[in-house]
Amino acid sequence: MSRLSSDDGPARTRINRAPSRLLAVTLPWLSILLGSLLPGWLLIASAPVLPPIGFLLFVAWRQLRPGLLPIWSGLPLGLFDDLYSGQPFGAAVLLWSIAAIVLELIEARVPWRNFLTDWLVAIGLMIAYIVLGLALANLAGASASLRIVVPQIVISVFSYPLVGRLVALMDRFRLTPFVVQR
């Protein structure tokens, strides 16, 4: 009976309504694309300080709903991120694809996870992503030291639960039934 109560969310409370199919499919993709654009707009920074929000959203969506985004989704989403990130072109395509494969393997081996394990996996991925991104930028001629990404890593690690919350919120919105069924 508790599933029928209003506390359990709007998904169960409305009769004769269904979630929008278009919204349910496109919202994860659109949110990640927007996340790729967002850090640039928020602030004109003179040091890498903002977390790679697109990547964080990508990992969070894949952790919350494994299989919703296909494994190859790193290719188109990473391509879009590369257009705006400022890293050498192709860095996000490579790293996001590898991250998707790693997440899929973890999901296959450890299907029972909790918040802490999800966070630890995400921390590992974020650190690897930022450090490898720096390495790729250095390969393309940046010659920056590892020291400059430390603040970004710390901020990313602590903002990940927030991003996960946001993704959970978006997931509820995605599955809210508001389209009238005939």
Binding site: L43, V49, P52, Y84, P88, I101, G133, A144
Partner: protein, 294 residues
């Protein structure tokens, strides 16, 4: 949390194939990414057209967020000003009194300067602005330091033009789109600006550290003459940057140079000015064949 749904393929040949192909597609994505990186390292200009077009597309949204950013800053400044207004007022009155006397002195100096310049027949070179623009977005999640401005080829911008704000040098134009341009900030590790100390002209190079500071490398080796608080301005040697543009203030002395803080913090900058590429005048040709011997 429970596993969301059973996604094991089991004995279904169809499910096995689809799992295999999705993994294969993921690996292909990674391979494509590696290929793109190799191309962009070998020829860094390969994707600049694509990126410029992409920035052009998002430029209207960038302008809106730039306006939002400046409103946010103003709100914070107004709230802060509410608490400090009395103290600030007293300080400003005191400074105004000082400034009035200094203004008279400066006028005298200016007049004398003009007289001396007329004597030397020097041409007054005014900074010639190509365009004024907003800083609309930056690569704030990347290790590289790029920013985008909302003026492009249609406003007369070209590659290499220096970009400055009211307080100092910001960077130079790296790629030009139709309505937007990519700016390499002076804090980027690939940005190298010839500078000199404003006071006496000790020559040095200023290279970005990537973390908002600037590494000043002296050209003359020996005793390090730099002191904390020295202001470095661009020297204009080699062209590109107009000489005398304020750039950074020394905060920490090293053995062979210093660490400096940028004077025009891009996050506080609303408008920037794009200048023409500065080219030093060519030295006059030697008069006779004996000019080279002595």
């Amino acid at each position: 949390m429970a596993p969301p749904a059973n996604r094991r393929s089991g004995f279904s040949r169809r499910a096995q194939y689809s799992t295999f192909f999705s993994y294969a597609a993921g690996v292909i994505g990674a391979v494509v990414g590696a290929g793109l990186i190799v191309v962009s390292i070998v020829s860094p200009e390969a994707f600049s057209g694509l990126r410029s077009a992409a920035t052009d597309v998002t430029e209207p949204a960038g302008q809106i967020t730039a306006t939002g950013r400046s409103y946010g800053k103003e709100t914070v400044a107004e709230l802060a000003g509410f608490f400090t207004s009395g103290k600030e007022h007293a300080r400003l009155e005191r400074e105004l009194a000082e400034a009035k006397t200094q203004l008279v002195e400066a006028k005298a100096t200016k007049a004398e300067n003009q007289r001396l310049k007329r004597l030397l027949a020097l041409k007054q070179d005014e900074p010639d602005a190509v365009a004024f623009a907003h800083l609309t977005r930056s690569s704030s999640a990347s290790t590289r330091r790029f920013a985008t401005i909302d003026a492009g080829r249609s406003a007369g911008l070209a590659k290499g033009m220096p970009v400055r704000s009211a307080t100092g040098l910001v960077g130079r134009v790296l790629k030009v789109g139709e309505f937007s341009a990519l700016v390499l900030l002076i804090t980027d590790t690939e940005s190298l600006v010839p500078v000199r100390r404003a006071r006496d002209g000790v020559p040095a190079f200023a290279q970005g550290n990537g973390d908002g500071t600037i590494r000043v490398r002296l050209i003359n080796l020996g005793i390090n003459p730099l002191k904390k608080g020295d202001v470095m301005v661009s020297s204009g040697s080699g062209g590109l940057y107009r000489p005398g543009t304020p750039m950074a203030i020394v905060t920490e002395i090293l053995r062979d140079g210093a660490i400096a803080r940028v004077l025009s913090n891009p996050s506080d900058t609303d408008f920037v000015m794009v200048e023409k590429v500065w080219a030093p005048e060519a030295p006059p040709p030697p008069d006779g064949p004996e000019a080279g011997s002595d």
